[in-house]
C-alpha cells in the first residue's frame, strides 16, 4: 500500500440528472426579480434618518437602501493600505461611497422591513441578514435563490436582539474584505421616543432578568399577553443607559493584495456540467490575519511583537471623527451615542453587543462581572422558546469564546468606579496560534 498504488479508487459522485443543482451551487444565476409575496413596508427608521441626519433622504418610503460593492483602499493604523469591499447607503451622504463597517441598521420588532439593494462594482452580490430567518429569496444566499442585480429584500423581524448583514457571494472573500454591517432589532415601540428610544424615552432590549434584580426596570410580562387589547411593547425587556458595539474583526493583508478582484477564483460552469467546469487555484484556504479591529477601529499592534500582548485600541474619536468617540448617528440609523470604548457612569445599565466577525476565534474577558442575556438574537430565558435556557453570570476575568458569526449581548452595572480594559484575545481558528490581545477601554466613573 502506498499513495502510488492505493487499494481503492473513490469516484466523485456523478452529477448526471442533477446538473442544474450542481451548477447553481457554485455558479448561481444573477437575476433582478420582483419581491414575491410582497407587502407594504412599515419601517419608521428611514423617515427618522431623513429627518435627523443632515443631508439624508428617504428615496423610497419606509425602505432601507444598500449598494454593494464599493472597492476602497483604507489606510491602516501603521500606514499600510489594504483593499476593502464596502456597502454604501445612497440615501446618506457620508455613507454613499462605502464605510467600514457598513452603517448599522436598527429596526423595531414586527415591522415589515424592505431592503432595496443594488449590486455593482462589479456585480453580482447578495445581502444575507444573518440570524434573520425569512424565505430563501429574502435570505440572500445565491445558490439557494439568486444573486443580484437589483432586489428588495423583505422580512419581518420577530425577535429583539443583535444580528448582522453581509454579502453571501464568494463569501470567504467578500465578507472578509468588509462587506458587512451590524443589525439590531429593537422593541416594537422603538423610534417613538427621542433618539431611537421607545415611547418612554428609554432604550430597551430583550432579556429575562428574573434572577438578576440589579438591573432596574425589567418587565416580566409575557410577550404574548395583551394589555388593554394590545401586546406590551416592553414585555420581557430591560432598559439600558449605555450601548456599546464590539464588532471584532480581522483582515489578511496578503489576501487583499494577492487576490484583490471580487471574482478571484470564482468557478464557472462549462458547457458540459460535471465534466468541464472551470475551477481555479488560490490561497483562500490559507488565512493569516494581520490587522484587527473593534467596530472598524484598529487595535494598534503587529502580531508576533511584544506589543501584541496588549494592543491598544485607537482612540475612537480619531477613527469616527466624533468628539466623544461614539459612532456617528449617520452610521447608526440616526441614533446618537453608541460607544466602542465604554465610558459610563456608576449605576448605569450598560449593554454590550459583541460579534465575532473575524475568521479568527476570540475570547473576551471583562473587567467586571457581566450577565450574558442573549446569544445570536435570542434572549435567554424568554418564554416560550427560552423555557430551556436562562441568562447567566460571566464573572470578571473569565474568558468567553466566540467563533465566527457568534454574538452575545451582555449587561454590566457597577456601583463603584472602574478604569480598566476588556481583553479580546484573537487566535487563528486553523492552528490555534495566538495573534493578539486587543484592549478595549472600559471606564465607569
Amino acid at each position: 500500500m502506498s499513495a502510488t498504488a492505493p487499494a481503492f479508487v473513490i469516484q466523485r459522485q456523478s452529477v448526471v440528472g442533477m446538473e442544474n443543482e450542481w451548477v447553481k451551487m457554485f455558479d448561481p444565476p444573477t437575476a433582478s426579480l420582483p419581491t414575491p409575496e410582497r407587502l407594504a413596508p412599515t419601517n419608521p427608521v428611514p423617515a427618522f434618518i431623513a429627518a435627523t441626519v443632515p443631508g439624508a433622504k428617504m428615496s423610497i418610503p419606509n425602505t432601507v437602501r444598500r449598494t454593494l460593492m464599493h472597492g476602497m483602499d483604507i489606510v491602516m493604523w501603521d500606514g499600510n493600505k489594504v483593499k476593502f469591499f464596502l456597502f454604501g447607503d445612497p440615501d446618506i451622504p457620508v455613507a454613499s461611497n462605502g464605510t467600514f463597517p457598513a452603517p448599522t441598521i436598527r429596526v423595531p420588532r414586527g415591522i415589515i422591513f424592505h431592503g432595496e439593494t443594488h449590486a455593482q462594482g462589479p456585480p453580482p452580490h447578495t445581502i444575507h441578514w444573518h440570524g434573520i430567518e425569512p424565505t430563501p429569496m429574502n435570505d440572500g444566499v445565491g445558490h439557494c435563490s439568486m444573486e443580484l442585480g437589483n432586489y428588495t429584500y423583505q422580512w419581518q423581524p420577530n425577535f429583539i436582539g443583535s444580528y448582522f448583514y453581509h454579502c453571501h457571494r464568494n463569501t470567504m472573500q467578500h465578507f472578509e474584505f468588509g462587506l458587512y454591517g451590524f443589525l439590531i432589532v429593537m422593541p416594537p415601540d422603538a423610534y417613538q421616543g427621542l433618539n431611537g428610544t421607545g415611547a418612554d424615552d428609554k432604550w430597551r432590549t430583550a432579556a429575562n432578568l428574573t434572577n438578576f434584580p440589579q438591573f432596574p426596570g425589567f418587565d416580566p410580562t409575557p410577550v404574548d399577553q395583551l394589555v388593554a387589547g394590545q401586546l406590551n411593547p416592553h414585555a420581557m425587556t430591560v432598559p439600558y443607559d449605555v450601548e456599546a458595539l464590539w464588532v471584532l474583526d480581522d483582515r489578511d493583508s496578503v489576501w487583499a493584495a494577492q487576490m484583490p478582484d471580487a471574482k478571484d477564483t470564482f468557478p464557472v460552469h462549462g458547457n458540459n456540467p460535471g465534466v468541464n467546469d472551470q475551477f481555479f487555484r488560490g490561497d483562500f484556504h490559507d488565512f493569516n490575519p494581520d490587522y484587527f479591529f473593534a467596530t472598524g477601529v484598529p487595535f494598534m499592534a503587529h502580531i508576533k511583537t511584544p506589543q501584541a500582548l496588549a494592543a491598544p485600541l485607537q482612540n475612537p474619536a480619531i477613527a469616527f471623527g466624533t468628539p466623544d468617540g461614539t459612532v456617528p448617528a449617520a452610521l447608526n440609523s440616526g441614533v446618537v451615542g453608541m460607544q466602542v470604548a465604554v465610558n459610563a457612569k456608576v449605576n448605569q445599565t450598560i449593554l454590550i453587543r459583541a460579534l465575532c466577525a473575524a475568521y479568527a476565534k476570540i475570547k473576551i474577558t471583562f473587567p467586571v462581572d457581566v450577565v450574558i442575556i442573549a446569544f445570536d438574537g435570542r434572549a435567554l430565558g424568554v418564554p416560550p422558546f427560552g423555557n430551556y435556557n436562562s441568562a447567566f453570570l460571566l464573572k470578571k476575568g473569565v474568558p468567553f469564546e466566540l467563533t465566527t458569526a457568534r454574538r452575545f449581548d451582555v449587561l454590566a452595572r457597577s456601583a463603584t468606579p472602574i478604569s480598566d480594559f476588556a481583553n479580546v484575545e484573537f487566535r487563528n481558528n486553523r492552528n490555534n496560534q495566538f495573534l493578539m490581545n486587543g484592549k478595549i477601554p472600559f471606564v465607569i466613573l
Partner: protein, 467 residues
C-alpha cells in the same frame, strides 16, 4: 433534472451499520444493514474530490476503514455505526497497511475510553468485543501516532441510541438527559409553540421517519501532505510533529499566481463530501416539513475549528465538547472544536421572520400580500424557477424550482468554504430544506419536489462512471 434523481446514484454520504436489533425504525430503510459484528479492513484509497473533472485534477489520498460485511463502498469517513447501550459489539479489524493501526472510541469528557484495540500490526487481524456505552454521539478513530492516523481518514461516527425514554417522558438522544433536554423533547409536538410531531414520532402516511437525525463528520484534507504520509518509509510512522506543523503552518505558497499548493488543507468535507455533494444529499441535508424536528450530531475529526452557522431556524445546543448541557442556548452558530463537536436540535418551526400577524415568532396566521395571497406558504416563491425554465446548456436545462425551500448550513470561518484555495461553495456546507408544513390549517402540506428518502440509499456497486 429533478432533485429526486440524485438518489439513483447513491448517497456517497455514508452507509450505516446497526449493531443489535433495537432500532426497527432504522431497519425499515433497506440501506441500513443489521450486523452483529463489525468487519473492517484498514486500507487506503485515492479519492476524486469535489472539483475533480476531465480538465481539473483534484484527488486526495486517504487511509480508510473499509467495511467488508456488508461490502460497502470504500470511503472516508468510515460507515456510521448505530447501537444501543449494553449491546455487545464484536469486532474484526484487519490492518492491510504497512504500519500499526488501531480502532479506538473515546468516552465523553472526563471518562475512560469506550474501546481501545491497541496497536494492530501490519497484516494482522484483531478480534475482540466491547459493550456499548451510554447514549450519545462518539467518534471512532485510529488514535495511534496521534493525530496523524485520524486526520489521514481513519475515523467515523459511532452513535448510541437510548433503548427507552424515562417513564412518562418522550425519547431524547440520551439515557440521562438533563432537565431542560427532557423538557424540550417533551414539548416538541404537544406544546402550543411547537406544533407537529415529537422527535420520536414518525408518520408513514407523510413519509416522515421517526427519530429524525443526521450525522455530520467534519474534516479537512491536504493532498500533498497525505501523499507524503502514504509514500513514507514502509513500516515507519510519519513524524506526528512534522505532520501537524505542515498541516497547520505550511508556508504560504501564493497558489493563485504559481498554481502550486502548500501542505495546508485545501479540501473541507462533511461526511467526505463538499459543495453540492454534501449540500444536496438527503443523507447529509435534513429535508423535513415544519413541525418535524430533527437532531444533528456534529463531530469534527480534523484539526481546524469550524464555526457552524445554520440558516432558517435557530437550534438548541444539547451537548457541547462531550458534555450534556442544561442551559440550552438557542443559537444560529456554534463551534465544532477539533476531535469533538456538539449535538443540536432543529425545531423545524416556520422560519420566524416570514411576515405574520403578531410578529413575535409564533406560528401565527400569515399576512395578506398586495397580490391577494399569503406570506405563508410562499406560493409565488415556491413556483419560481431560478434560473428560469429554458436556461439551456446544450440539451440540459439549468432551471431550479424554489421548492422545497432550501437554505444552507456552513462554516462561517469561511476559508473552509473553498476547494483548492478558491471555488467558493465547494467546501464544508450542508443544506437544510423545508419540504412542507404539518401545521397548515388544511392539513399536512407538502411542497413540490419532496425527497424520496432521508437516509442512505442502497449501497453496493460503485456509482456510475465518473463525470
Amino acid at each position: 433534472m429533478e432533485r429526486r434523481d440524485f438518489l439513483k446514484y447513491g448517497a456517497a454520504g455514508l452507509a450505516g451499520l446497526i449493531v443489535g436489533s433495537e432500532m426497527p425504525w432504522l431497519l425499515e430503510n433497506p440501506a441500513y444493514a443489521a450486523v452483529q459484528s463489525l468487519n473492517f479492513t484498514i486500507t487506503d484509497a485515492k479519492k476524486n474530490m469535489v472539483t475533480h473533472n476531465a480538465i481539473n485534477v483534484a484527488t486526495c489520498y486517504f487511509w480508510i476503514y473499509k467495511c467488508n460485511t456488508p461490502n460497502f463502498r470504500p470511503d472516508c469517513p468510515g460507515p456510521n455505526i448505530f447501537t444501543t447501550p449494553g449491546d455487545t459489539i464484536n469486532l474484526s479489524i484487519t490492518n492491510a497497511l504497512d504500519e500499526p493501526h488501531a480502532f479506538f472510541i473515546p468516552g465523553g469528557a472526563g471518562l475512560p475510553p469506550v474501546f481501545d484495540s491497541g496497536p494492530i500490526a501490519p497484516g494482522a487481524t484483531f478480534t475482540g468485543s466491547f459493550v456499548a456505552p451510554k447514549a450519545g454521539s462518539y467518534l471512532y478513530y485510529d488514535n495511534l501516532n496521534a493525530p496523524v492516523n485520524r486526520v489521514m481518514g481513519l475515523h467515523g461516527a459511532f452513535i448510541v441510541m437510548p433503548i427507552a425514554p424515562a417513564a412518562g417522558h418522550k425519547f431524547t438522544p440520551y439515557d440521562t438527559p438533563t432537565l431542560n433536554i427532557q423538557k424540550l423533547f417533551d414539548d416538541l409536538g404537544p406544546a402550543a409553540w411547537w406544533p407537529g410531531l415529537a422527535w420520536e414520532q414518525g408518520d408513514p402516511a407523510t413519509g416522515t421517519p421517526a427519530f429524525r437525525q443526521h450525522i455530520w463528520v467534519l474534516h479537512q484534507a491536504s493532498p500533498l501532505l497525505f501523499t507524503d504520509v502514504g509514500n513514507f518509509t514502509p513500516g515507519q510512522d510519519f513524524p506526528a510533529a512534522t505532520f501537524v506543523s505542515q498541516f497547520l503552518n505550511s508556508p504560504y505558497a501564493d497558489t493563485f499566481h504559481t498554481g502550486k499548493f502548500n501542505r495546508k488543507a485545501h479540501f473541507f468535507t462533511i461526511n467526505g463530501q463538499s459543495g453540492h455533494f454534501s449540500h444536496n444529499n438527503p443523507f447529509i441535508c435534513p429535508m423535513y416539513r415544519v413541525g418535524e424536528p430533527a437532531l444533528i450530531r456534529v463531530l469534527n475529526a480534523g484539526l481546524h475549528t469550524h464555526s457552524c452557522h445554520i440558516h432558517a431556524n435557530h437550534v438548541y445546543v444539547l451537548s457541547l465538547d462531550g458534555r450534556l448541557s442544561n442551559n440550552l442556548w438557542w443559537v444560529d452558530t456554534m463551534a465544532a472544536h477539533p476531535g469533538t463537536g456538539f449535538d443540536w436540535l432543529v425545531p423545524y418551526m416556520r422560519p420566524p421572520d416570514v411576515p405574520n400577524t403578531r410578529g413575535i415568532g409564533r406560528a401565527d396566521p400569515p399576512r395578506r400580500t398586495q397580490a391577494g395571497g399569503f406570506t405563508w406558504p410562499p406560493a409565488q416563491e415556491l413556483a419560481t424557477f431560478i434560473p428560469p425554465v429554458g436556461t439551456l446548456v446544450g440539451a440540459i436545462d439549468l432551471a431550479v424550482q424554489m421548492s422545497p425551500l432550501c437554505f444552507p448550513m456552513h462554516d462561517h470561518s469561511e476559508a473552509s468554504q473553498t476547494a483548492q484555495g478558491g471555488n467558493y461553495n465547494c467546501g464544508l456546507i450542508s443544506g437544510i430544506n423545508f419540504t412542507g408544513d404539518r401545521n397548515d390549517p388544511a392539513g399536512v402540506l407538502t411542497f413540490d419536489n419532496p425527497p424520496l428518502t432521508h437516509g442512505p440509499t442502497k449501497t453496493g456497486p460503485a456509482a456510475p462512471p465518473l463525470v
